[in-house]
Amino acid sequence: MKSFIKLAVLLFVAGSCASAWAAADIEINTPGVVALTQSMQARYPQLAPHYASGAVGLTSDGFVAVHDASAVPLAQRQAVNALVAAENHDRKALYSEIARANGHPEWTDDIRNTFAQRWIQRAQAGWWIQGAKGWAKK
C-alpha cells in the first residue's frame, strides 16, 4: 500500500512536470482565434479613420474606447459606438479564446494585458492611447 501511494505521487509529479514543458508555447491557430482575427481585420478599415482622427483610442486594458466623440459628425456617432462595441466584443472573446485554447482559462487577464501593451506599442503615431495619466497622443 505504501509503495502504491509513493508510485501514485511520483506519477502525478512526473505528469505535472511534463505538462509544464508542453505549456511553453502559445497556440493561436484554432478556428475560434482565426475567425475572431478575421472579423477584427474586416472591421479595421472602418475603425482606422477614427483612430487617426482621435475619435477612438486604445485603452490600457486591451480594448478600444471613444476618446473624442466630437471628432465625428453627430449623425455618425451611433455608428462609431457600435464599431467600438463590436471591436471590444471580439477582443474580449479573443483573449478568452486564446486562454481556453491553451488549456488555461485563468490566463485570460495575462493575455489581455500582454495584448494591451502590444496594441499600444504597435499603434501608429498620432493615435490616442490611454495611459496611467489619462489620454495621450502617440
Binding site: A20, Q41, Y44, R122
Partner: protein, 72 residues
C-alpha cells in the same frame, strides 16, 4: 511509518514546485502570438520598417515575423 511521512512530505513539496512551474504564464510566447495577430488585424506589412518610436522593451525579434502570412 515515519519514513513514509518524510518521503510524502518531500514529494508533496516537489509536487508544489512543479505545479508552480505549470501555472507560469508564457509571457514571451504570448507577446509573439499577440504581434502575429496584430499584424493580421492591422495589416502591418513590414515589421522591419524603422519606426520613429522608442523601443520600450528589448523586443529584438528574429526573422520569424516575416512568415506572418503563412496559412494555417
Amino acid at each position: 511509518m515515519n519514513k513514509t511521512l518524510i518521503i510524502l512530505t518531500i514529494l508533496s513539496c516537489s509536487l508544489a514546485a512543479c505545479v508552480t512551474i505549470n501555472i507560469y504564464f508564457p509571457a514571451a510566447a504570448t507577446e509573439k502570438a499577440a504581434d502575429k495577430i496584430i499584424d493580421e488585424v492591422w495589416q502591418i506589412q513590414k515589421p522591419d520598417q524603422p519606426k520613429p518610436e522608442q523601443q520600450k522593451n528589448s523586443d529584438d525579434k528574429p526573422a520569424e515575423n516575416k512568415t506572418q502570412k503563412e496559412t494555417k
